[in-house]
C-alpha cells in the first residue's frame, strides 16, 4: 500500500475543468469533509466508460476472491434478487477477480455487496484501460470534475495486482502517476476517509487471446504461448477505483470450522455454507430447513443471515452429539444466534412428520428455503426406514409380549435406498413445502470424467436457477439452486418428472431409465442403488467429506 509522498510536485488544478477550490474550503476542513461525502453520493456523477448505459446506471468495480469461481456470479445474482436491485454485469470472467457492473446508486452498490461471501469489496470505477496511458486518459475524462470533492479528505492509495508482481518502488512510481488529481488532504495508512486502489490484472490466459495479447505489447522475440503466463511483465487491464464498501467475507473467519464447538466429518465449510444460504435467499424472519442437518453447518449459516432454522436427520446422535456440551444446539449458543434456533428432530425424508392435514387457511408451504447436502452413501450406503425384506409382513415385532418399537432403546430397521430415488424425494418434498418463490439448494456429487452420470434433477414446480461446480482432485460436486414456482405447474410432455412418493417401490430405477414398476427389479445392495458409490470405489481414493 502506498501514498503520495507529501513533497511530490503536483500539477495544480490544471486538469480540474476550471473548478478551482475557493480558499474557504481549505480553512473549514471538518465541514468540508461531510460535504465531500454527501456531494460524492448525490450531486456529481461519473462519466460512463460504457456509453450504452441508461442515465441513472453507473459503473462499479467488484473485487472478487479468486475462489469457487463458478459460484461467484450466481451468488451476486441471488443477492440482487434478494435486495431487489437493478444491475447489469458489464465485464466478468471467471479467470480474474475484477468485474465491472452497472448499478443505479452507490447505496445499491453497498447493499448488494454487504452480504456477499465471494466478493471482497465494491468500488466506484474511476477509470480503466489496457495500459497506464489509457487508464490516465480514462480517469481524467471521467472524473476530473469530481477531484475537488476529495481535495482535503484524508486518503490513501492502495495497490492490487492479480497474477503479477510489482516491486515496492514501481508501485510507488505508478501511484505517483496519479498525482494530477491534486489531493491535498493528509495521507492516512489507517482508516483514511477515502481509499483509492490501483488494480492490475495480469490474467494468465490473456496470452492466448490475440486481442488481449496485442494489448500486452510483448516483444516479438518472446511471443510464444510457451512463455510462462504467470510471469507477464505488464498487466493487460488496469483500473483505478474508489472504495465504497466491504462484503461479508469476514464471516468466514467467524464461522471457521476449526473454531466451532461441535463438528462432524461431513460438516460443510463455513465459506460454502454461507454462500449456499445466500443462494437460497435466506434473510431475517424467513424459515429455513435442512432435511439432512447433520452437525448443522447450513443451519448455522441460515441463522447467521437471520432465518429461523429447522433441521432433521435420520441419525439423532448427530443432533444431540455424543459428548456433553457438544451438540448442534451448542453451536447456536456459541454464535449467539439462539433466537433463530427453530428446532432439530430425528426423522427420515421418506416418512417425514412435516406437513399438516389440508384445511382452510392452512398451508403446507411453510419454508422459504430448503438447503441440503444429502448423504452420497459412500461410507455406509444410503439408508431409509423400512425392512430389507419387502415380503416381511407389516406387523409389529413382539418379543416376550413387548412390541419392540415401544422399547426406549429401539433402533428402527433401515434398508438401502437409491440415490436417484432420494433426489426424487427431495424435489417432491421441496415442491410440497416451499413457499411461493422459495428456494431449494442441493449439493450433489458428480464425477469429472462423466459429468452426465447424474442428470440434474428436474421437477415441474421447480425452476433451475444455477449450477455451480466445486472441483476436487478426482471428483467434483455441484450446488443446484431452484426456485419454487408460485403455483403448481402442469406436467410437461416428454419430460420425465418426479414420481409420486405415495408408494415406495423396490428401488432399482436407474438414472434416466423411465419409471416403470414392472421393470423395477429387486436390487438391495448399496452399489446397485448408487452409481456414485460404485464409481467411488472403482477409482476415487479420497473420501469426499475430508476434501471439503
Amino acid at each position: 500500500m502506498f501514498c503520495f509522498p507529501r513533497a511530490l510536485p503536483r500539477i495544480p488544478y490544471l486538469q480540474n475543468n476550471g473548478q478551482n477550490f475557493p480558499l474557504k474550503y481549505l480553512l473549514v476542513k471538518p465541514i468540508l469533509f461531510k460535504k465531500c461525502i454527501a456531494m460524492a453520493a448525490t450531486v456529481e456523477s461519473l462519466a460512463p466508460v460504457c456509453s450504452q448505459l441508461p442515465p441513472p446506471m453507473r459503473e462499479y468495480l467488484i473485487h472478487f476472491a479468486q475462489v469457487h469461481e463458478t459460484f461467484r456470479k450466481p451468488e451476486l445474482e441471488s443477492l440482487a434478487e434478494l435486495f431487489n436491485i437493478e444491475y447489469k454485469i458489464l465485464r466478468y470472467t471467471e479467470k480474474a477477480p475484477f468485474a465491472l457492473i452497472a448499478l443505479k446508486s452507490p447505496e445499491d452498490a453497498k447493499t448488494l455487496i454487504s452480504r456477499s461471501i465471494l466478493a471482497k469489496a465494491i468500488y466506484e470505477l474511476w477509470g480503466t484501460g489496457t495500459t497506464y496511458d489509457e487508464l490516465h486518459t480514462s480517469v481524467k475524462s471521467r472524473t476530473s470534475h469530481l477531484w475537488h470533492l476529495y481535495k482535503t479528505c484524508s486518503f490513501k492509495f492502495g495497490f492490487e495486482s492479480f497474477n503479477g508482481m510489482r516491486t515496492e518502488a514501481v508501485k510507488k512510481e505508478l501511484i505517483e502517476g496519479f498525482s494530477y488529481v491534486g489531493f491535498d488532504g493528509p495521507i492516512r495508512m489507517k482508516n483514511p476517509d477515502e481509499l483509492f486502489v490501483v488494480m492490475e490484472d495480469y490474467e494468465a490466459t490473456s496470452i492466448l487471446d490475440p486481442v488481449r495479447f496485442a494489448a500486452l505489447k510483448i516483444d516479438d522475440a518472446v511471443e510464444t504461448p510457451a512463455r510462462n503466463p504467470t510471469h507477464l511483465d505488464e498487466p493487460h487491464q488496469v483500473y483505478l477505483a474508489r472504495f465504497l464498501a466491504k462484503s461479508s467475507r469476514a464471516a468466514i473467519e467467524t464461522y471457521d470450522l476449526k473454531k466451532r464447538n461441535y463438528i462432524g466429518t461431513t460438516s460443510m465449510d463455513a465459506e460454502l455454507s454461507l454462500v449456499t444460504a445466500n443462494m437460497a435467499l435466506v434473510s431475517p424472519g424467513k424459515l429455513a430447513y435442512d432435511p439432512f442437518v447433520g452437525t448443522g453447518s447450513f443451519a448455522v449459516a441460515c441463522a447467521h443471515f437471520g432465518a429461523i432454522t429447522f433441521g432433521s436427520d435420520i441419525d439423532g446422535r448427530m443432533i444431540r452429539g455424543t459428548k456433553p456440551g457438544k451438540s448442534l444446539r451448542s453451536n447456536f449458543e456459541q454464535y449467539k444466534i439462539m433466537d433463530r434456533y427453530g428446532d432439530m428432530f430425528v426423522s427420515d425424508l421418506t416418512n417425514s412428520p412435516l406437513g399438516r392435514v389440508a384445511a382452510a387457511g392452512r398451508s403446507e408451504r411453510i419454508f422459504d428455503a430448503i438447503i441440503c447436502d444429502p448423504p452420497y452413501g459412500v461410507r455406509e450406503g444410503l439408508k431409509v426406514l423400512g425392512s430389507r425384506d419387502p415380503s416381511r409382513p407389516k406387523v409389529p415385532t413382539i418379543i416376550d409380549g413387548i412390541a419392540q418399537h415401544t422399547r426406549k432403546d429401539f433402533v428402527p430397521p433401515k434398508r438401502p435406498y437409491s440415490f436417484d430415488k432420494m433426489l426424487n424425494d427431495i424435489t417432491n418434498f421441496a415442491s410440497t413445502h416451499l413457499a411461493p418463490n422459495g428456494r431449494l439448494c442441493i449439493w450433489l456429487p458428480t464425477a469429472d470424467e462423466d459429468f452426465n452420470e447424474f442428470s440434474i434433477p428436474t421437477h415441474r414446480n421447480l425452476k433451475l436457477e444455477s449450477v455451480c461446480v466445486q472441483n476436487f482432485n478426482k471428483w467434483s460436486r455441484r450446488l443446484l439452486t431452484y426456485t419454487r414456482y408460485e403455483t403448481d405447474r402442469e406436467e410437461e410432455n416428454g419430460i420425465a418428472t418426479a414420481t409420486t412418493d405415495s408408494e415406495i417401490l423396490p428401488d432399482a430405477v436407474a438414472a434416466g431409465e423411465p419409471h416403470d414398476p414392472t421393470k423395477a427389479k429387486l436390487a438391495r445392495t448399496a452399489d446397485a442403488l448408487n452409481p456414485f458409490r460404485r464409481k467411488y470405489f472403482e477409482g476415487f481414493k479420497t473420501p469426499p467429506s475430508e476434501d471439503s
Binding site: 437471520g306 444446539r329 421418506t350 412428520p353
Partner: protein
C-alpha cells in the same frame, strides 16, 4: 421440541396424513423447560401468518398455557436487510413503531413459541395412537418397519 415446531408436524405414518386427527400431535408426559432466548419481534411477526392458530391453542392448552381463541393481528415488521419487499418499513429496534398492545402480544408469542420447550415426553397421534418420544429436547419421528 418447541410449540412452534409442533405446529408444523403431523403423524409420520403415511396412512394418517389424510386424517384430521393426526394434526396436531398431542403432548403427553411433557417435562417443560423455559429457556431464555433473545427477543426478536421481526421473526415473530413473520412467523405468525404461517401458524395454524387452532392447533397452537390446542398444543398450548396441553402444556398449560392459555392463548386467545383467535389469531392476533399484528403489523408485518421488516428491516432494511430483510429484502422482504419492504412493503411496511417499520423499525423494530427497541420496539419503536410497535404499539403497546402489539408488543404485549409479541412478548406472549415469544414466550410460548420460542422460549418454551418440551425436554422429555411424548407426542401422540390422535389417529393411530403412535407415540413419538422426545429426548433431550429432540423429537424422534422414526417409524418401525411395519409402519413404513
Amino acid at each position: 421440541m418447541k410449540l412452534l415446531t409442533a405446529n408444523f408436524l403431523s403423524c409420520a405414518v403415511k396412512a394418517c396424513k389424510s386424517s384430521p386427527l393426526s394434526f396436531p400431535l398431542h403432548f403427553r408426559d411433557a417435562e417443560l423447560a423455559s429457556k431464555s432466548v433473545p427477543y426478536n419481534p421481526l421473526l415473530l411477526s413473520n412467523l405468525l401468518p404461517r401458524l395454524d392458530w387452532p392447533a397452537l391453542v390446542t398444543s398450548s392448552k396441553e402444556l398449560g398455557f392459555t392463548l386467545p381463541d383467535t389469531k392476533p393481528e399484528l403489523p408485518r415488521l421488516s428491516t432494511s436487510t430483510g429484502g422482504d419487499d419492504g412493503d411496511m418499513n417499520m423499525s423494530v429496534d427497541g420496539g419503536s413503531g410497535v404499539g403497546e398492545e402489539d408488543e404485549k402480544t409479541l412478548k406472549m408469542l415469544h414466550k410460548v413459541l420460542m422460549e418454551t420447550e418440551v425436554v422429555e415426553g411424548k407426542m401422540v397421534c390422535g389417529s393411530c395412537g403412535f407415540e413419538y418420544g422426545i429426548h433431550q429436547s429432540v423429537g424422534n419421528f422414526l417409524l418401525p418397519s411395519h409402519l413404513v
